[in-house]
């Protein structure tokens, strides 16, 4: 600590240069933090996917429907605990396209809640949902987005599933669920399938896909195969796969988000490394005589090396931590595009990696100038000014 004033003093030597370097590092780590939050938004489903859940969809495409009767047939297969159907409703609130969110009719509310324990719904809300045909349970993020509350009546228009009157579907909010984990998506709107099926104009008896809970997660692949065999050669062949694999495949429709982000961040960090390294190299070159004087006073080569590295790490730490902190604050305020990225937060793991990256950047940027300062011969350094 007693050398801190020396380290800080050296950074104040060229204030504008230090400030510009700090800003570059700040922007790089702000970008890192926000991109990590975006990556999390795309992959959160994989992280929280239940190991004991399968997704069963039409073999051709997710947009093709399956008969509602498949539920009972799947539940009769060995290894299957329960099955719940989902259908993509595509509900739009107040006829405003931007007011779009995930909305799904659920075939068996009780089985659904048991299968998804990450949705924390109070018991009285659950009972209200079971009693109310047009009742809907809504996640905390969606409630916060539209400032809804229990008892609110929500008109939704579905361009896919019009009702018999071609008007808006009428729902009543009877429950609000929280997420058990940070990565749990609480932007969903779930309502009862019986109300939906009775009211829709066409497509009765059809559902979008099923979530199937298996009795033994170790046998998930085996059960998935049995389900597909059960419906083989039928008009509605299925593709069953573990939920995690399904989510991953879904996210990869856009591309390998992880690889894209690593590519962008590598380019950014390499550039910043050059900027910070150049700053430190210039800084060391400019004070060759001073470094010579310090060594003449008795500062050892190792101490001079450590002081230059400390400067480099300090500049990286100030810029990096402010950037990372701001990214965390932005992410903590919630998704800027909740309809597209409902789960948006900076995971602790990304913060820890960011801190490690900050010190790696500081060390790597400073190592060459520090070695140069360490190897500096005192007589040569002092002779430069003579």
């Amino acid at each position: 600590m007693k050398f801190l004033s020396l380290v800080v003093g050296n950074l104040k030597r060229k204030k504008l240069r230090t400030l510009l370097t700090l800003l570059s590092i700040f922007v790089a780590f702000l970008l890192y933090g926000l991109l990590c939050a975006v990556k999390e938004a795309f992959t959160a489903g994989i992280a929280v996917a239940g190991a004991d859940r399968l997704i069963v969809r039409h073999k051709v495409s997710l947009i093709m429907t399956l008969p509602v009767t498949y539920q009972a047939r799947m539940e009769s297969l060995p290894g299957v605990a329960s099955a719940v159907s989902f259908t993509w409703f595509n509900g739009i609130y107040q006829n405003e396209p931007k007011n779009f969110f995930g909305s799904f009719p659920i075939s068996h509310p009780e089985a659904f809640l048991a299968m998804f324990p990450e949705f924390l719904l109070p018991e009285d809300h659950k009972q209200a949902w079971l009693k109310t045909r047009n009742g809907a349970i809504v996640g905390r993020a969606l409630v916060d987005r539209f400032k809804w509350k229990i008892g609110d009546r929500i008109p939704l228009v579905s361009p896919i599933w019009p009702n018999a009157s071609d008007g808006a579907w009428d729902f009543e909010i009877v429950g609000i669920f929280e997420g058990a984990k940070k990565a749990t998506d609480t932007s969903g709107f779930y309502f009862r399938y019986d109300y939906f099926d009775e009211g829709r104009k066409y497509g009765k008896g059809l559902v979008g896909w099923y979530s199937v809970q298996v009795k033994d997660p170790e046998r998930a692949e085996e059960v998935a195969k049995a389900i597909d065999e059960e419906f083989a050669n039928s008009p509605h062949e299925t593709k069953a796969e573990p939920e995690g694999a399904f989510m991953q495949g879904f996210a990869q429709q856009i591309g390998d988000i992880g690889k894209i982000l690593i590519g962008i961040l590598s380019a950014v960090f390499f550039t910043i490394l050059l900027v910070a390294g150049n700053t430190m190299a210039q800084s060391v070159r400019e004070r060759t005589e001073e470094l010579g004087a310090l060594k003449a006073m008795g500062f050892s080569n190792e101490l001079v090396l450590a002081l230059v590295l400390a400067e480099s790490c300090l500049i990286a730490a100030v810029g990096g931590l402010i950037g990372l902190g701001l990214a965390w604050l932005i992410a903590a305020r919630g998704s800027p595009v909740p309809a597209m990225l409902p789960v948006f937060y900076l995971p602790s793991r990304a913060v820890l990696i960011g801190v490690a990256l900050i010190f790696a950047l500081g060390s790597v940027a400073g190592v060459l100038p520090a070695l140069q300062a360490m190897r500096l011969r005192i007589a040569d350094a002092l002779r430069r000014q003579a």
């Binding site: 020396l6 001073e290 008795g298 050892s300 080569n301």
Partner: protein
């Protein structure tokens, strides 16, 4: 030859025996010092004169442990410093030598007191103890009222006083001054020389001063001359 002032007793602090220093410039070898012998007694104020390129600063660097001889022995206080490792030599310098440079070599980003404190950062002294030593050193050079000033706000003479305070703050055995008045006007230079003389007379500091200036060397007890790598007790023709 200038008047040879003597110091009582025969207690050599610095011994330079048969020292040679060769620099290489590409394939060419430049012999800067050749078979050089010198003794400096404890409490002596020695001036080292000679034309540019004669090897004065090189000799000072060897005595101060900033460089190593190509051949020969350099010992200070009975310790052979030419044999010390880099790390031990750095520790030795911190403990035994104070340097005063022609261009002061103060750190512009630190105040006078912080500059003077620098060598003390290498000791185990507490912050309060360091402050006490810094105050005493700055008082000794007459700058007790300028402790918070930065080098750019001080005159050349004042900056050199800070440089001297920094050199003496650890109470070193030996004070090595390389052209300490070379960048100063006559008045400031005289003040610096008086200060060095006072440190020699009153504090008993052993001082070796490289200078071009006969006026400065006249303040020393003894003057030796370097020319073409050889040492003379009288100015060579």
């Amino acid at each position: 030859m200038n008047e040879q002032k003597t110091v009582p007793g025969d207690n050599a602090l610095v011994r330079v025996d048969g020292v040679e220093k060769v620099f290489r410039r590409g394939t060419e070898e430049v012999h800067v010092l050749a078979d050089l012998h010198l003794e400096v007694r404890r409490g002596e104020f020695l001036a080292l004169m000679g034309p540019s390129g004669s090897g004065k600063s090189t000799l000072l660097n060897l005595i101060g442990g900033l460089d190593r001889p190509t051949k020969g022995v350099v010992s200070v206080g009975g310790e052979r410093i030419d044999e010390l490792s880099d790390r031990r030599l750095a520790a030795w310098r911190a403990q035994h030598v104070g340097f005063v440079f022609q261009l002061y070599n103060l750190l512009p980003v630190l105040s006078a007191e912080r500059n003077v404190e620098l060598p003390l950062l290498l000791t185990h002294l507490s912050k309060a103890q360091r402050r006490k030593h810094v105050e005493a050193a700055l008082k000794m050079v007459g700058l007790a009222h300028r402790t918070r000033h930065y080098p750019r706000t001080l005159s050349g003479g004042e900056q050199q006083r800070v440089g001297i305070a920094r050199a003496i703050v650890t109470d070193p055995t030996l004070l090595l001054c390389d052209e300490p008045t070379g960048d100063l006007d006559r008045k400031s230079g005289d003040e610096i020389l008086s200060l060095l003389q006072a440190l020699n007379h009153e504090q008993g500091k052993t001082i070796i001063m490289v200078t071009h200036d006969p006026h400065a060397s006249a303040r020393a007890m003894r003057t030796v001359y370097l020319d073409k790598g050889q040492l003379f007790t009288e100015k060579p023709e």
